[in-house]
């Protein structure tokens, strides 16, 4: 099927997520859609799959204009989308997920559907059992389930939104193989990604988006520099890490193990020095989260000791860690960070150094105004947290950090941020590092990990599978480890 998107506009409040986008996708082709986080790729694809309705614009399928008022219309037209976070019903079984929303008899025939599921699984070499609850599937398996479901529903245009975040290298290879096979069968595949290499690997044609607009198109292969230039305006180079002299031990794990679940199998030992930056890599849910929570006292180890600045903190409460200047910033900025409905001023009062029973609001507002200026936050002292954009929320979070920090733990410090904010965030973090703060950050972005870390810990399936010297490794090696394979010529160092 050939597909044309013509002059698509879509805004969310003041945000113009799609600002007049025109794209043509050839029949039977693998079409890449490339762009930074926040460029509007997901929005465009949601419009194409009927999830959102566009403000204006036309969609032409095989020469015929189609109206997509809701996802039903898109499914009818043969357009299926695999969302960035696969939209499966976690408590339901695989088979229920498979049939939910499909047309057919009033009474469910799970047996028949399970047979069809198995056939499709066999055909594409997937291995998902119909009775497993979906929450037990890995992200990769959830994707496979969704892909098969969409094919079963008769999709002929398949959209995959950032399908490689959170899956292993093996699963990725498998996925690419499947997509290539589908394309040869005449399927049009739209592959959305913010990673250059992947698009270059897989696709035949690429469209590049920035800030809601199309900024370039090319037949592949082209030299990567050209794609980089389209994405960023100019090519960037990885600048040298300025080294900070390491000092005393700030965070130490001695054979730490949890009681059950993730991180319960292999004890972890680790010593993080002042001014050191540790990157944490791994598929989503491989234990990074549990590890960071161990670092800040939100979880207690069953065995081993955790010390901060040389002091044994094992079993202490989160607030004791906080008092020892250990701070944790999880990924969900509005879920586990800021508070909806409270103003910036109120946030600063809550986390301020001086806490008196009565609040001096005038002084508080003045301080908030200062902070807003200092951290170039787009908003006023009376703006509520949810009214800020993601980048500005991150700025407020960093502004709320205490001046002295021993250890800073962060999840996805730049996820969903525009480049300017992302750079700014790292500027701040590196400045902290100069002051001696040890930083541990989890990220799904390998470039970010390589660029900023001194050491990289790779998590796989609830344990630390590798510890790499960031100066001595590369994307391939990290990728292998993330996928659970210890590289043969491991550049692993142990300190």
């Amino acid at each position: 099927m050939s597909l044309e998107l013509l002059d698509i506009h879509k805004h969310f409040g003041p945000v113009r997520a799609n600002d007049g986008i025109t794209i043509t996708v050839q029949e039977g082709s693998l079409h890449g859609l490339l762009g930074e986080n926040g460029a509007g790729k997901s929005t465009l694809m949601k419009v194409l799959s009927g999830f959102h309705s566009a403000d204006s614009g036309r969609i032409v399928l095989d020469g015929r204009e189609i109206k997509l008022a809701n996802p039903d219309d898109a499914i009818e037209a043969g357009i299926g989308m695999l969302h960035q976070d696969p939209l499966v019903f976690l408590p339901f079984s695989v088979i229920d997920n498979f049939v939910l929303g499909s047309p057919g008899s009033a009474r469910l025939d799970r047996k028949k559907a399970a047979r069809e599921l198995s056939e499709l699984c066999e055909r594409y070499g997937f291995n998902i059992s119909p009775d497993t609850p979906a929450r037990l599937l890995t992200v990769g398996e959830r994707q496979q389930l969704e892909i098969i479901r969409l094919l079963w529903l008769g999709a002929r245009v398949l959209i995959l939104d950032e399908p490689t975040t959170g899956i292993s290298a093996d699963q990725r290879a498998k996925l690419f193989e499947t997509l290539k096979a589908l394309a040869t069968e005449g399927m049009s595949v739209i592959f959305v990604s913010h990673k250059l290499e992947e698009v270059a690997d897989l696709c035949e044609r690429v469209t590049v988006m920035t800030r809601g607009k199309v900024v370039g198109e090319a037949e592949l292969p082209v030299p990567p520099e050209q794609l980089v230039e389209m994405m960023f305006g100019q090519s960037i180079e990885i600048h040298d890490r300025d080294s900070v002299p390491l000092g005393t031990s700030h965070l130490a794990f001695d054979s730490v193990r949890t009681a059950t679940g993730l991180l319960s199998e292999e004890p972890i030992s680790l010593d993080v020095q002042s001014g050191e930056v540790i990157g944490i890599a791994g598929m989503e849910g491989s234990g990074q989260d549990a590890f960071l929570r161990l670092c800040c006292g939100m979880r207690t180890p069953k065995e081993g000791t955790v010390s901060i600045g040389g002091k044994d903190m094992t079993g202490k409460h989160y607030r004791d860690y906080l008092a020892a200047d250990v701070k944790y910033l999880p990924a969900g900025r509005l879920e586990e960070g800021l508070i909806e409905g409270l103003t910036i001023t109120e946030h600063f009062v809550l986390t301020g150094e001086k806490q008196s029973f009565f609040v001096d609001w005038n002084a508080a507002r003045e301080r908030a105004v200062e902070q807003i200026e200092h951290y170039t936050i787009k908003g006023t002292e009376a703006s509520t947290a949810e009214s800020l954009s993601g980048g500005n929320q991150q700025r407020v979070l960093l502004a709320m950090l205490p001046p002295e920090l021993t250890v800073l733990l962060m999840e996805h410090p730049t996820r969903g941020l525009d480049i300017e904010s992302a750079d700014w965030v790292w500027e701040q973090l590196l400045a902290r590092r100069q002051q001696g703060t040890s930083i541990l950050f989890a990220s799904a972005d390998l470039d970010e990990l390589l660029r900023y870390s001194d050491r990289i810990l790779v998590f796989f399936s609830g344990r630390v599978i590798g510890e790499l010297d960031a100066n001595n490794t590369n994307v391939e090696e990290i990728g292998m480890l993330i996928g659970g394979r210890r590289a043969p010529s491991s550049g692993s160092v142990s300190s």
Binding site: H11, T351, F358, V359
Partner: protein
């Protein structure tokens, strides 16, 4: 845009007035008559005329528990909790107060102070229990609270029938009246107690100040809006939730005390008068703002006291008063909700056209 804003503020008010009058007309009255009767029955017509002091006293002493409970509920609502257990907390306050009133004999001022303290403690403990069930037991506060409401009501009935039964007769109507020294001092010939009024106003002012100017109030608000974020900021969230229940329970307990030693002068089975639930309506209508609790709960008290006149004079069932209260709150909620909805749509359309 400003004219729109005004319009959207006026529409809810209009909806409320239309709904209230519609209701009264539908009830077969001429719309004004019941309102006049309610006013007459609660504060006299014309208001506060000579000879109405007894009515006014009753109305004020109904206002006291409603306002106190409302003040308490502002705290739990801000902490994100639906304290439906407030009825039980009022009842427990009354029970504790009754115990001291019956058993202790000391000088009058000390006795009154002890009774109020006991009432506060009773309500507080019952509130704390809801909080503990919620924080440690994972039981939704709505159900924990309701369960404890049932228990408190049962305990009252049991006390009245068995250990505290009236001398000579076994009756479910109530205990013997408390000794005179144990009653709230009131103005001659009325129930009106200046002390109760002062306590109520101080409580409301305290709650206003709590959320207006203190870190404790701000932290309560933070916990109510987002518990994980608050925890990560270093706020001991469970302690704050329990704190909210303690404050609310104590105020509800004092409300129950006022019912026991300021209105009924003994323990009766329905001692709470359903004022806890009524207070929830008051707070929803006041949109959690302390100051507005004062007039709204007074208005609700007027309806509660005055609607008995409807039965006597218009032969309209006095439950009309309760219907009127419910209608007011529901129409205000929907009126405001509708206006906010329109406003959002307009703002969106505005953003689209620019």
């Amino acid at each position: 845009m400003t004219s729109n804003r005004l319009l959207y503020a006026l529409i809810p008010a209009g909806v409320v007035v239309v709904a209230a009058f519609g209701l009264l007309l539908a009830a077969g009255t001429n719309g004004f008559e019941p309102i006049k009767l309610i006013v007459e029955g609660s504060i006299g017509w014309p208001p506060f005329e000579e000879g109405t002091s007894s009515k006014v006293g009753d109305t004020v002493m109904v206002w006291v528990p409603i306002a106190l409970a409302s003040a308490g509920l502002i705290v739990t609502f801000n902490a994100g909790m639906w304290n439906i257990g407030i009825e039980g907390q009022i009842i427990m306050g009354a029970i504790f107060a009754a115990f001291v009133a019956r058993e202790v004999s000391v000088s009058r001022p000390l006795l009154i102070a002890l009774i109020i303290l006991a009432g506060a403690v009773g309500g507080m403990l019952w509130g704390l229990l809801v909080g503990v069930l919620r924080t440690a037991g994972g039981v939704n506060e709505i159900f924990g609270g309701l369960g404890l409401d049932f228990v408190a009501a049962s305990i009252t009935t049991y006390l009245i029938i068995d250990p505290w039964s009236r001398t000579g007769v076994a009756s479910t109507s109530g205990t013997d009246p408390f000794p005179d020294e144990a009653l709230l001092p009131s103005l001659e010939g009325t129930r009106l107690s200046p002390l109760a009024i002062v306590i109520t106003l101080v409580a409301i002012a305290g709650i206003w100040l709590l959320f207006r100017g203190t870190l404790y109030g701000l932290k309560l608000k933070a916990v109510g809006r987002n518990r994980p974020s608050s925890f990560l900021m270093g706020i001991p969230t469970n302690r704050y939730l329990l704190g909210a229940f303690v404050i609310c329970g104590a105020l509800a307990g004092i409300a129950g005390t006022s019912q026991a030693i300021g209105f009924h002068f003994r323990l009766i089975p329905a001692i709470s008068g359903n004022y806890g639930f009524l207070a929830i309506l008051v707070v929803l209508l006041a949109r959690f703002r302390a100051f507005w609790v004062i007039p709204i709960s007074f208005f609700f008290a007027m309806i509660a006291v005055g609607s008995s006149q409807l039965q006597l004079r218009l032969d309209v069932n006095s439950a009309l008063g309760g219907v009127l209260q419910g209608t007011l709150v529901l129409s205000a909620m929907f009126g405001l909700g509708w206006a906010a909805h329109r406003f959002r749509k307009q703002a969106e359309a505005g953003a689209e056209s620019t």
